[in-house]
């Protein structure tokens, strides 16, 4: 599903060169649920941005769903994000002026679905997160956990093969965090590949596999499910 080989990302200013990622290698299989942990500044977010095609990388190869994305232009990358990737953000990133229906609608508009299809998908995915009866509400009228559920509904509405979550429970209390995690596991169980960045080791435990990032490199892989492919990945 996702294959990164020797990915490096260098931020340059006039005075310093920062290596956010160096020789980063990772292989995520279809249907996998990988958590990414590591200390602040380790390169977690850079990894997430590159994986989600939000940022470009300096060198290396990145295959998403078997397709090399290195030389794609901005529009093609946008299209790929729209069709293949679903995003869940730490601060939910709902659009405050739009009600839940319109929020979930946002990526579907860019997809170019017709009105009926959009409506079906929005209603379906809001039902999935248990918020069907709140469609006309504004984000501000919901609790944090509910807002994150809306964000998940938005991520799922386009039926992406690959879900990227950035500290999905970071702004939530433990009870709400638990329910969001349950939802993610349920989604994963239906076949959607999930990569989740978190700094919470307890949360990371709930993924199938966990990678630990330090100094822009994958330094450790743990398998929570008993699969045995990881070693291979590390060695490239």
């Amino acid at each position: 599903m996702l294959k990164m080989k020797n990915i490096s990302k260098v931020f340059r200013t006039e005075v310093v060169e920062t290596h956010a990622l160096r020789e980063f290698n990772l292989h995520v299989q279809e249907g996998d649920f990988v958590s990414v942990t590591g200390p602040s500044g380790s390169g977690k977010t850079t990894f997430l941005n590159i994986a989600g095609l939000l940022e470009t990388y300096s060198s290396g190869r990145y295959l998403l769903d078997g397709k090399d994305v290195s030389n794609l232009n901005d529009t093609a990358r946008s299209k790929l994000r729209n069709e293949k990737i679903g995003f869940i953000f730490q601060s939910f990133n709902l659009i405050p002026d739009l009600n839940l229906f319109d929020n979930v609608d946002v990526p579907l508009r860019y997809r170019g679905f017709n009105k009926t299809e959009r409506k079906e998908r929005i209603e379906h995915s809001l039902a999935l997160v248990g918020l069907s009866n709140r469609m006309k509400h504004l984000p501000a009228q919901l609790s944090g956990g509910q807002q994150q559920r809306v964000a998940i509904a938005r991520a799922l509405a386009g039926e992406p093969r690959f879900l990227l979550a950035d500290e999905p429970t970071g702004n939530l209390d433990s009870k709400m965090a638990f329910s969001v995690m349950e939802l993610l596991q349920e989604i994963n169980s239906k076949g959607t590949t999930i990569v989740m960045v978190t700094h919470d080791p307890e949360l990371a435990q709930q993924a199938k596999r966990n990678i630990y990032v330090r100094d822009g490199k994958v330094s450790e892989l743990t398998d929570n499910s008993g699969s045995s492919e990881y070693q291979e990945v590390v060695n490239g």
Partner: protein
Amino acid sequence: MLGTLEMGPIIRSLTRNKTGAVLIALQIAVTMAIVLNAVFIIGERNDLIARVSGVDEANSFQISSTGFASDFNHMQTLEQDLLDIRAIPGVVAVTTINAIPTSGSGWSMSLQTESGENKTDVGTAVYMVDQNGIEALSVELIAGSNFSENEIRYRDGNQEGWPQNIIITKALANDMFPELDYAEVVGKTVYINYTEPMQIIGIIDQLQAPWIGWNKLENAMLSPEHIASGDFSRYFVRTEPGMRDDIMLQVEELLAKRANERLVEGLRSFEEVRERSYSRHEAMIQILFVVMITLVSITGKGIVGLASFNVNRRRKQIGTRRALGASKAQIIRYFMVENFLITTFGIVLGMAMTMGLNMTLVSVFELGRMNLMYLPLGAICFWLLGQLAVFGPAIKAASTPPALATRTV
């Protein structure tokens, strides 16, 4: 394809953040009302200015002489002046004249087709000229004949009544005898001062009265006379093309030879005379132009300012949209569509205000009624203005990095 225009969500989003949009729409509406009315007024003034006087505007000038010496012989001076001026090479014709077309001051009389008091009359400007008047004014005699040299009289205040023969403009002929062809008017008798008969001996194509604001501007008559009171005479000179300025100086020099007996004044080209009369209209046009340009740029700046502010405020949102798969073009389109909707609202309001303002101007200042075609044309211009103004901020919005979505700020 309409789905990606996002009309519905944009409208719903706008209704939750009305203030900015309403302010822009109001600005557009008021600006539109002012600009369209200004354009309309400019058009009307331009039409006024574009009217032709009938004389050879580029090659004519006037000059006047006032004798003050106690032994000043006016008639002799006048005759000698006419001979001398005519002798200057490049002078086509010269006449004495009491007033200059479009100059602002002159003499008007009423003519009637029947003798007696309380009969319908028609106002006309009176130009007292000699037999060279037609040539000097560069008007065309389209029917009848010119004055003969020996019928030109001196008006020194001691003559009885008016000359026997007059020449009138086609417009005046039509005004007095609407049922006749202008050529048939030649030979008709009209009455001045209720009962004094005068015969129309000729018709000229066109000559404007001195008062540019008069509604009978095209009514003029030529009377075969030299003004001879007050030792004052005014000459109207027509020159060969391109020689006017030289000849103006020569004539001034010629008349000033007797500066100890008379004042030589009022040397002015016809163009200058005309410009002076129309200068208020010209000034109004220029002021309105400045007003329009400033107003449009203020409104444009207002749109840019508010759009930039909105872009900054929504940076996170834009980043999220980009992360969710919006292309740069789609982000640009979002802001363009949003602006289009706001502008449309402003334009609809603006159309009503434009008509309202026009109606007020019509009733208070006797302005003409605006052609309705101004509205759609104005609408197109303001749509363009809006799109142009929002384009910069929209480009800026599109350059928001999608990675902003994952930043927790």
